[in-house]
């Protein structure tokens, strides 16, 4: 661990054009898809949008719990999380425009012939066209406020290292976690669950949240590895960051499975047609196999893969698992969205279109991310908790120093400034 050198910049010379290439390829495929089959394109776009929305919301969550828990070890990974969260506005809002335009194609309840059904009338005024746009705009407004303010104060702290911004960020996180829970739930209800407006489950918001954070942690692990290899945040890292990210990912693997099992199990046991039809639809055709892939691939493989303590440090083991998490989260979301246009089975034939939407968004978002990331210090260089994250000596035992697991025996002795008088 050498002295921190925050003047380093991300060197992407070989891959510099990749985001642009992905964007172009994606845009071409999207245009072709839109011309060939507008409906198919709309659902593919929605799926890709919900996928990246979960990453941005998950990152916002990581930033907020850092402040709420007064955590130390998360400092080096906080900056890129802030940048990802800050893409919620305007970038995710811009990506929402096609959904807003094609809402009538996507959402069956907007169709006039369904407007007189009890299930739609009961949901008035929420399930009316103006409210759809008002609530969507409100969600983006809240996310903009939170992600923007949190990043702003974090960057402010880079200048002075004073305590004030920390308290500001805690203030936004405290109010933010409540707003996050409400807006996240309403957004996923309105944009994803309302595809089947007859169906209802109180767990749905938590379910989307669980999968999102799991996927975000996998992404954070990948980004940390890349930034570490580039030497950008290496000074601020201790190997515990990998361990903790891996452990949290393990915890969320179990949490997601717990949530999804509970939802399925209660519906299965209650056996009421108004609820079970959602799963019945997903046991038809090839969707049944998709369900099996989720059980084994979304839970058992990562669960067993992350069970051992030591694997969380082994990049050759963790990186494939994290990439696998991307695939699984995408399949999980497609299990939620795609049976609407394709009740007969998984849409293998339109995978090219899914790739197009995905490539366009990943290209755009990574270009934005890189631009933002490169124009600011790579980690919060003056954060008061940075010393803990680095695994340097500090007077009070916290997560890294003196952990119960006896893994912290490589800590250095105290430097002179921490000498305390004997009692």
């Amino acid at each position: 661990m050498n002295p921190a050198n925050p003047t380093d910049r991300f060197d992407i010379s070989r891959w510099r054009k990749l985001p642009l290439q992905l964007m172009v390829i994606g845009a071409v495929l999207c245009i072709i898809g839109g011309l060939v089959d507008a409906k198919e394109f709309a659902y593919s776009w929605l799926l890709a949008f919900m996928f990246f929305l979960s990453l941005c919301l998950g990152s916002l969550f990581l930033v907020m719990i850092h402040h709420l828990f007064d955590a130390g070890w998360t400092v080096p990974i906080r900056r890129f999380s802030e940048h990802i969260a800050a893409m919620l506005f305007p970038w995710m809002a811009l990506l929402f425009i096609p959904i807003a335009v094609m809402a009538k194609t996507i959402y069956p309840w907007m169709n006039p012939e369904h407007q007189h059904e009890h299930a739609v009338i009961a949901k008035q005024p929420l399930f009316s066209v103006p409210m759809f746009y008002i609530v969507s705009a409100f969600c983006f407004l809240i996310w903009w406020l939170l992600s923007n303010r949190l990043r702003h104060w974090s960057l402010e702290q880079d200048k002075t290292g004073a305590a004030g911004p920390t308290f500001r960020m805690r203030y936004y996180s405290g109010a933010g976690i409540v707003l996050f829970a409400l807006t996240g739930t309403i957004a996923v209800v309105l944009w994803q669950k309302s595809l089947e407006y007859h169906w209802f489950s109180t767990m749905y918001g938590v379910y989307y949240f669980g999968g999102s954070v799991w996927f975000t942690l996998a992404t954070a692990y990948l980004i940390t590895v890349v930034l570490d290899r580039l030497g950008l945040i290496s000074d601020a890292l201790h190997e515990h960051q990998y361990y903790f990210l891996g452990s949290l990912m393990f915890a969320f693997t179990v949490f997601y499975a717990y949530i999804h099992f509970a939802q399925y199990f209660i519906i299965w046991n209650g056996n009421m047609p108004e609820e079970t039809y959602w799963y019945v639809l997903r046991e038809r055709g090839t969707w049944w196999y998709v369900g099996m892939v989720i059980i084994f691939g979304h839970f058992f493989i990562p669960f067993l893969g992350l069970l051992r303590i030591d694997v969380k440090h082994i990049f050759t083991w963790m990186i494939p698992l994290c990439v696998w998490a991307w695939l699984m989260h995408w399949i999980d979301l497609s299990f939620n969205i795609m049976p609407i246009p394709h009740p007969q089975g998984f849409p293998f034939l339109s995978l090219w279109l899914h790739f197009g939407c995905w490539a366009f968004m990943v290209g755009l978002l990574s270009a934005v991310f890189l631009r933002n990331y490169n124009s600011h210090p790579p980690y919060p260089i003056k954060d008061p908790r940075l010393v803990e994250a680095m695994g340097l000596y500090h007077p009070v035992p916290t997560q890294i120093s003196g952990g119960e697991l006896g893994e912290a025996d490589d800590l250095r002795d105290a430097p002179p400034q921490f000498r305390q008088p004997a009692p």
């Binding site: 179990v254 108004e274 003056k382 009070v396 105290a414």
Partner: protein, 477 residues
């Protein structure tokens, strides 16, 4: 191992963000032993007797109510059609919910490396065990013919019957008995090194013998500590899903049915959050007075209280989220039965139970956003009591309001408890407090060896731990 000096660019922590020490005033190892162990030595203080006598009398009341109920039948309770689950199940869920803080503190906070837990985990685990004991009484009585309780277990019997494992009530049997057993194992395992402390301090033969037997010959050998810490970690890893599963399974007792207000998918995590919430309420209610009476302010510092208030706030808010989701989905589903049920909760004849539920569980804990409330022990104590009151009402609302107006309007009724219901409930308090008072009298109520491990001088790299400042540590190859 390198011993490079502190990098010059590492920011200094501003004074207002310094983390306070977990054991205040730089207390020594010996002080911790003396302070904690002396609480269970010498004659019992007067206040202990003042609390013990009424607790024991209440325990006698429990004995009376239970005997009367067993000899007469469940009709002595107020359970009447359609409210066939009433105070018995309300109190069962309430007590078992309280029992969740202990395992949360000992297991989940251990895995999360929240080292402040060491100061409160012993008392919280004891509380868990006694609360689960109180909880276990109710289902055992509720079955009516208590002498056939063993049918609940897969024991071969003369009728060649086996339990029916598709019923959530059977899952409950397994969940609660496993929870009790594992909590006792965990608690006892944590106690072993501290029983050795008590053994080595004991002056009388009887104490030496008894503490000696239960300390299992513990010497503090590092070869033992190595296995011990691993076993502790594994028990924590096993207890973490256990604590989530127990209240999830309790929630399944309700949610696998088809009753409005019971059948809802968010029940498992919502019940777990509620259980932790009420458990922390009880931990605060118990520890704030004990800390004061026994002058444990250096071990259970204001930081500990502050953190526990925040956990209460977090879990209370999750409960609030679940309440709002229930109402939202009742409206969203368009199901008239769901809609009626939730209106009946808020506006029906049991409104007097719904209002304190929402107030105590969701609104009052929000005061903990404000630092003043977290720093004021009287306020914390009052709020912690209100949390327990609110959580009792929550179970009452779910169970009684869920049942008293079912699908058939002709069978609607208004449930009232009988004096035996009340007596049994008061009696379980007697059991709980009798056990708890005996615990704090005879066993170290704070994990002595664990608290020693979070002091600065326990860290070999700390100046107080004997490390020479800014000097190289010899290589450990």
């Amino acid at each position: 191992m390198t011993t490079a000096p502190m990098p010059a660019t590492v920011p200094q922590t501003p004074a207002e963000l310094e983390r306070p020490l977990l054991v205040a005033n730089l207390r020594s190892f010996g002080w911790i032993s003396n302070r904690v162990a002396s609480l269970s030595e010498g004659p019992a203080p007067l206040w202990w007797w003042i609390l013990f006598v009424p607790s024991f009398l209440a325990l006698c009341l429990l004995g009376f109510c239970v005997s009367y109920q067993i000899s007469t039948g469940v009709g002595v309770w107020g359970n009447r059609h359609p409210v066939m689950w009433a105070w018995d199940i309300v109190n069962f869920v309430w007590w078992i919910g309280i029992g969740h803080a202990g395992t949360l503190i000992s297991a989940i906070l251990f895995l999360l490396r929240q080292r402040w837990r060491t100061a409160v985990n012993r008392a919280a685990e004891a509380m868990t065990i006694f609360a689960v004991m109180c909880a276990g009484i109710y289902p055992a009585l509720h079955v009516g013919r208590t002498w056939y309780d063993y049918w609940l277990f897969p024991i071969p019997n003369s009728n060649s019957l086996w339990p029916q494992f598709r019923s959530p009530l059977m899952w409950d049997v397994f969940a609660v008995s496993t929870y009790f057993t594992v909590s006792v194992l965990f608690w006892y395992m944590g106690l072993v090194p501290d029983l050795a402390v008590m053994r080595d301090r004991a002056r009388t033969r009887a104490r030496q013998f008894l503490y000696g037997i239960f300390a299992l010959g513990w010497t503090g050998s590092n070869r033992h500590w190595s296995n011990y810490e691993k076993a502790y970690l594994i028990l924590a890893g096993l207890s973490t899903p256990l604590v989530l599963s127990v209240h999830s399974i309790v929630s399944l007792d309700f949610s696998v049915s088809q009753l409005p207000g019971w059948h809802t998918t968010i029940f498992p995590p919502y019940f777990v959050a509620g259980a932790v919430f009420s458990g922390f309420g009880m931990v605060l209610s118990l520890l704030i007075p004990l800390r004061k009476i026994w002058k444990l302010e250096d071990i259970i510092t204001m930081r500990h209280i502050d953190v526990m208030c925040k956990v209460t706030l977090a879990t209370g808010s999750i409960v609030g989220y679940a309440y709002s989701m229930e109402f939202f989905i009742a409206w969203y589903s368009g199901n008239p039965n769901e809609g009626f049920h939730f209106l009946n909760r808020a506006l029906g004849p049991y409104q007097w139970a719904w209002i304190p539920m929402v107030t105590c569980n969701v609104l009052v804990p929000q005061l903990f956003w404000i630092k003043w409330f977290r720093k004021n022990l009287v306020a914390v104590f009052i709020i912690s009591i209100l949390v327990n009151v609110g959580m009792w009402f929550e179970r009452f609302v779910i169970i009684v309001i869920g049942l008293h107006r079912d699908f058939l309007t002709s069978s609607w009724a208004y449930y009232k408890p009988t004096p035996i219901d009340i007596g049994t409930y008061v009696g379980t308090f007697g059991l709980f407090f009798t056990c708890f008072l005996l615990f704090i009298r005879f066993l170290p109520m704070i994990a002595i060896s664990e608290v020693k491990g979070v002091t600065p001088q326990s860290d070999p790299h700390h100046p107080l731990g004997g490390a020479k400042v800014a000097e190289s540590v010899p290589d450990e190859d």
